[in-house]
């Protein structure tokens, strides 16, 4: 809600959260920690509760009133009295319905409001959680939390919570009245509460475990579903529908089995809670009869006692599903709080909103993926002055892409530091860092939005001229041929574009955000030679004004840079010009040897393949080849 007020200007990356810190008292449980979300609706909830109590009063009053009408006017032939009291009874009936409506009306905003506020805050939180978090968590788990668990909370607040409290009150009041009526029998009723509590304690732990497992498994099923939806084209390419189905089926069957475990626990717990009050009734009847026989109470008292006791059956029996819902809500809140508790890791610090010149320095940088021992990068040093461009060259898996994600702090270094203008990026506001650094990723991600919206991702305030210029640089003029030009929706839910087109838009996006440091992570790979040449020519001008890092696989891209840094084994081993490295570093030559490519007439077999390698491939092929028995099938 507060978010609606400061949207479009990308300011600080906020992640509002009202989750109370873990402590004792009310905030001991995860559900308790979410209580602050009820705060805005406090007044409403109090009124609603009062209304609920009043409607309970009306519910009790109506039969009493009816009885009064029969005992009074009807018995005494009082026509006027019948009209007065009868109409009053009618009025009471209308009042009861009105109170019901009021209760339901009042709870709407509170229950959906809590759900909505939590959903938005959770989304905000997920947006700022680091890449390491997103790498470790299955997306289906997140989806099931933001949809499933929050709806469970809504249902609890909107329906079960009130009922739970009212029923408990009813149990307490009725038991009190029974105690007052005739305490020895009242004690019997009181004692019958013991098995109720015991059953609750006994099943609670089992049920919590099962419900947690069920909710987690729901997330796993969602993950499988999401995965097969996103990977559908690959599944189809290989005709692996059956294989994917089997994977899904295993998860779905597991979910069913966990749910059945829950069903088993619930069936016992619920039955017990339904039987206990009735059993107490039988005992009361036996003891009561004895008391009547001994003249300790009158028959009338016993009748009244038992009639009143019937009022306990439903509130206690209903505890079964109400407590189950409470358990589920508690599990849901734990799962939600887990996300709020996940460390943000990449914290935004510093307040200065400066625009640095863009001198980039990597000082003794080391990086390990979270949870791994192996260093992806180690002792890496590199300085790039404003206006300079460095090409990063390295074999597949050398760590080039990781290195590029360290600059905009998508990951933080494990040791050493990344500095912009001599300032550690970790001491700058995150929004500043990400405003200063723009990356065109190797996987061009487009969102299901208009072309314009996709391009202005990093800079919503960009003018039409700037957009045009960026399109020009990236040779993305094809957007004008789309049915609605810049307003055409692209992305998964829109027009599908080819890999090369997506890359060009991604590049235009990076250029448009007008960064001080421009990182191009193999952005031109899907372009044809002709377009690539045009883009490179235009890029040269752009790179002239910024600090550039270009991840390059080709000589043509390397030539965009002033210097080349060779990345080997997680560190930079050589820095120099393309010509120098080509002349002096054999591994560089191996990586970028254009000579071999240049002359296709070179007999590849002779110069590329030793006999050994040839055999290896032939062997691999033989191993992989379809086994005979399968061929027969």
């Amino acid at each position: 809600m507060s978010l609606d007020q400061h949207p479009t200007v990308p300011g600080e990356l906020i992640s509002p959260s009202r989750v109370a810190p873990k402590d004792r008292g009310l905030h001991r449980t995860d559900l308790g920690r979410l209580l602050p979300y009820l705060r805005p609706y406090r007044a409403r909830l109090i009124v609603m509760f009062a209304v609920a109590l009043a409607s309970l009063g009306a519910t009790i009053a109506i039969p009493l009133f009816t009885k009064k009408v029969i005992d009074g006017p009807v018995a005494h032939q009082d026509v006027r009295g019948l009209w007065v009291l009868g109409l009053a009874a009618l009025g009471l009936g209308v009042l009861e319905a009105a109170l019901w409506m009021a209760r339901r009306w009042l709870v709407q905003l509170a229950s959906t409001g809590v759900e909505n506020d939590l959903r938005k805050d959770l989304y905000a939180r997920l947006q700022v959680l680091p890449m390491s978090f997103h790498g470790a968590w299955q997306s289906g788990q997140l989806l099931s939390r933001i949809m499933n668990d929050l709806s469970a909370m809504r249902r609890f607040i909107g329906f079960a919570a009130v009922l739970l409290i009212l029923n408990l009150i009813q149990v307490i009041v009725v038991t009190g009245i029974l105690l007052a009526m005739y305490w020895p029998l009242g004690i019997v009723v009181l004692i019958s509460i013991v098995p109720v509590a015991a059953a609750n304690l006994h099943y609670e732990r089992q049920f919590t475990k099962a419900s947690r497992a069920a909710q987690d498994q729901t997330g796993n099923v969602a993950t499988t579903v999401e995965e097969s939806a996103l990977g559908l084209r690959v599944v189809k390419s290989f005709g692996r529908e059956d294989y994917v189905y089997d994977r899904f089926d295993a998860q779905a069957v597991k979910l069913r089995d966990i749910q059945l475990r829950k069903v088993t626990i619930m069936s016992r717990f619920w039955t017990l809670l339904e039987v206990i009050p009735t059993a107490a009734l039988v005992i009361v009847l036996a003891f009561g009869a004895r008391a009547v026989a001994l003249d300790q109470i009158t028959l009338g008292t016993l009748v009244a006692f038992i009639t009143f006791m019937l009022n306990l059956v439903w509130p206690i029996a209903s505890l079964g599903f109400l407590l189950s819902m409470l358990q589920e809500t508690m599990t849901a809140s734990t799962r939600v709080v887990e996300i709020f508790d996940a460390p943000r890791e990449i914290e935004s610090t510093g307040a200065a909103e400066v625009t640095p010149a863009g001198r980039l320095e990597l000082r003794d940088v080391g990086f390990r993926f979270p949870g791994t021992e192996q260093w992806a990068l180690r002792h890496l040093n590199l300085t790039v002055e404003p206006g300079q461009t460095v090409a990063l060259v390295g074999a597949t898996g050398a760590g080039k892409s990781v290195l590029t994600s360290l600059i905009p702090r998508l990951y933080d270094v494990s040791e050493g530091a990344v500095l912009i203008d001599g300032v550690d990026v970790r001491t700058l506001p995150l929004s500043t860092v990400r405003r200063v650094v723009a990356t065109a990723f190797e996987d061009p991600t487009l969102f299901s939005m208009s072309v314009r919206e996709n391009l202005t991702l990093g800079r919503p305030e960009a003018t039409e001229t700037e957009i045009r210029r960026a399109i020009e640089v990236a040779q993305a003029g094809f957007v004008d041929d789309l049915p609605f030009g810049l307003d055409t929706r692209i992305g998964e839910q829109g027009m599908s574009l080819s890999g090369g087109q997506r890359q060009r838009l991604s590049l235009a996006r990076a250029v448009l955000s007008d960064p001080r440091i421009l990182v191009l992570d193999d952005t031109l790979s899907a372009l044809d030679v002709h377009t690539e040449a045009l883009v490179e020519a235009a890029l040269r001008n752009v790179l002239h004004d910024v600090t550039g890092i270009v991840v390059a696989h080709r000589a043509s891209t390397v030539l965009l840079a002033d210097r080349v840094a060779l990345l080997e084994g997680g560190t930079i081993t050589h820095v120099g010009s393309h010509a120098e490295l080509l002349a002096t570093v054999p591994s560089y030559r191996f990586l970028l040897a254009a000579d071999d490519e240049l002359d296709p007439s070179l007999a590849h077999e002779e110069c590329w393949e030793t006999d050994e390698e040839k055999q290896a491939i032939a062997h691999a092929h033989a191993t992989v080849g379809i086994p005979e028995d399968e061929e027969r099938r």
């Binding site: 009807v74 559908l232 189809k236 696989h553």
Partner: protein, 615 residues
């Protein structure tokens, strides 16, 4: 508090979302359900369980008899059991009553547990069956459908819609059956007690029916919107999380928050609307009940004064009337859940009724020995009507030939590839494999022989080995390793923290694009198809990897048909034959060497530019 407080300058969805087609709302990708379609699906799902359902109905009736017997037995105990005990110390009646009570109690307990257990099982099995059907069906639907429907919607249908139905199955039936039984029982009691008074009370029925009809109409529309808007929320959520890297790098968070906030607000609004309907419906039923009781009291009191009925009858009548209206709440509650589940069922029924445009033939031609000859015979194809991508293509690729497709964006290269893999069917003409029309073949069978590798390189959850094995699930570890070695992926995989057992971590986020391409290559190599289609499958490879792949390709492609789409001519050069395409037509066709030396040819120009770029 939310949707209403937005500043007027806030861009609406229309501005950021962009246009796809004129005058078409977002939800138009989904057809609306035919009347009764949802119910038909529900019955269809329940049919295998009808025997159990019948047993359950009996159990529930028996349980109710036992349950209702309890207060009656207690009453007998008090009225007939206690006085003899008090007066004559004769406890025999009371003992019998207590024995009967214990029996009733045990019966109730046993039957209740049986019912909860069994009905829970039926519910879970129905859900499993529904999940399976929906999943499998989405798998059979063609790519064109998925292009339109999008993954987010698939996820939404398969998760949150199924869960809406779960809610009904979990808290539905038992209450309903009990309620209906009580309702019928008390209605009969009321009528037998006093016909005139009973008929007056039945006057409330038309009002109840009218109210229910109103609720049904309104809530059906509202719950349908709930399903649609929750799908939009899910779509936005999935897209954000899938593209989180770009979101963070470009500080998209505030804007996203706004977009998501708007959707979440809409979701809240529609949820409030459904709750409002219930907030009118349920108290409405209560009101009708209370008014009826009031009228019965007045009319009954009048009758009693005139001596037409006794006071005892009136008291009993009013008591039963109360019992009559009590279960109404339960029924309306169930009706509400049912309405919510119905709209979810509707959505799923529509999906399940969707027939794949690319379907398997009734009797498929079995592919045994595939040579790999592919032919396009006067193939016409367009994605959008009136904009032909292939205006009429004739192309014959002899078995074993490697063909490279070259041309600008929109020339139709990828379309040709997709038609070969039968992602789409041509609108005119036919595509054949060994002379068989692809439409006459079983799809899974076809794709065992024709495999396409694209730039997409999707990685599934699991290890690197799992992902390679996707090409042939029954492959041994050794075969997986051999495949990786053959395409030159072995070196990088072995350098990973846990080698082949390394988790690719959420859609390969930890692998670079080049590494994923190598894994995808290994996957295709392992699948060992007769026809291999490579659509820009080498673009992200670095030169040494590409060299290795090309070297491997020479061997891999030696004994099979291949179509290669690549803008990088180094890959094209290994082809036997190059086709230069423009607007879906073949402009040049010949061996690369021949085309390179052709004066004024497009390929020659392309080749020159490429050579220059390498210098």
């Amino acid at each position: 508090m939310t949707a209403t407080t937005q500043p007027p300058s806030t861009p609406t969805e229309a501005t950021w979302r962009g246009k796809l087609q004129e005058d078409q709302p977002d939800t138009s990708v989904e057809k609306t359900a035919a009347p009764g379609q949802a119910r038909a699906l529900l019955w269809d799902l329940l049919r295998p369980h009808r025997a159990t359902v019948a047993v359950l109905a009996v159990a529930v009736i028996a349980e109710n008899v036992a349950r209702l017997a309890v207060p009656r037995l207690v009453q007998i105990g008090v009225d007939d059991g206690v006085p003899p005990l008090r007066d004559r110390r004769d406890g025999s009646t009371l003992t019998w009553v207590i024995v009967a009570l214990v029996v009733a109690l045990l019966l109730q307990a046993g039957l209740r547990m049986f019912f909860l257990l069994r009905s829970g099982r039926v519910g879970q099995n129905v859900l499993l069956e529904l999940r399976r059907r929906v999943f499998r069906h989405f798998g059979t639907l063609d790519v064109a459908f998925h292009d339109r429907y999008t993954s987010g919607r698939v996820v939404s249908r398969s998760t949150s819609d199924v869960e809406a139905i779960q809610e009904m199955l979990e808290n539905g039936f038992d209450g309903l059956i009990t309620a209906v039984l009580t309702l019928i029982g008390t209605a009969i009691l009321l009528l037998t007690l006093d016909l005139k008074l009973g008929l007056v009370c039945l006057l409330s029925f038309p009002f109840l029916v009218l109210l229910s009809l109103w609720f049904r109409r309104e809530s059906a529309a509202a719950y349908r919107q709930v399903r649609e808007i929750s799908a939009l929320v899910i779509v936005q959520f999935v897209e954000t999380m899938t593209g989180i890297k770009a979101v963070q790098a470009y500080r998209r968070e505030p804007r996203n928050q706004q977009i998501f906030g708007e959707l979440a607000d809409r979701y809240q609004q529609i949820n409030i609307r459904t709750m409002r309907l219930v907030a009118i419906f349920m108290p409405g039923v209560k009101l009708i009940g209370n008014l009826t009781t009031g009228v019965a009291l007045l009319y009954g009191g009048y009758l009693a004064m005139r001596g037409e009925i006794t006071i005892g009858v009136l008291t009993a009548f009013l008591l039963y009337l109360r019992m009559f209206f009590e279960p109404m709440q339960e029924i309306t509650q169930f009706y509400n859940t049912f309405q919510s589940a119905t709209s979810a069922l509707e959505k799923l029924a529509v999906v399940l009724a969707e027939r794949p445009a690319i379907a398997d033939p009734a009797t498929a031609t079995a592919l045994t020995q595939v040579r790999g000859e592919v032919a396009f015979e006067d193939v016409q194809f367009s994605y959008v009507e009136g904009r032909p991508v292939l205006p009429g293509l004739d192309l014959r690729i002899p078995a074993g030939q490697t063909v490279a497709l070259v041309g600008t964006t929109g020339a139709g290269k990828t379309t040709i590839a997709k038609l070969m893999a039968r992602f789409y069917d041509p609108q005119h003409g036919r595509v054949t494999l060994d002379g068989h029309d692809l439409r006459s073949l079983d799809q899974q069978d076809l794709r065992r022989h024709v495999v396409m590798v694209t730039q997409e390189n999707f990685m599934f959850e699991g290890t690197v080995a799992d992902n390679i094995r996707f090409g042939r699930p029954e492959a041994t570890d050794e075969q997986v390793r051999a495949a990786a070695a053959a395409v030159g992926a072995a070196a990088f995989i072995e350098a990973l923290p846990e080698g082949y057992a390394t988790d690719v971590a959420k859609r390969g986020g930890r692998l670079s694009a080049g590494q994923r391409q190598l894994v995808a290559f290994a996957r295709a190599f392992l699948a060992d198809p007769d026809v291999l289609i490579l659509d820009e499958a080498t673009s992200s490879l670095d030169i040494p990897s590409e060299r290795l792949v090309q070297r491997a390709l020479r061997t891999i492609l030696a004994d099979r048909t291949a179509v290669i789409i690549a803008h990088r001519l180094s890959t094209v050069e290994i082809a036997h034959r190059v086709l230069v395409l423009e607007h879906g037509r073949v402009l040049e066709d010949g061996p690369p060497a021949e085309l390179t030396s052709a004066d004024g040819g497009r390929y020659a120009a392309l080749h020159r530019a490429w050579v220059e770029s390498l210098a």
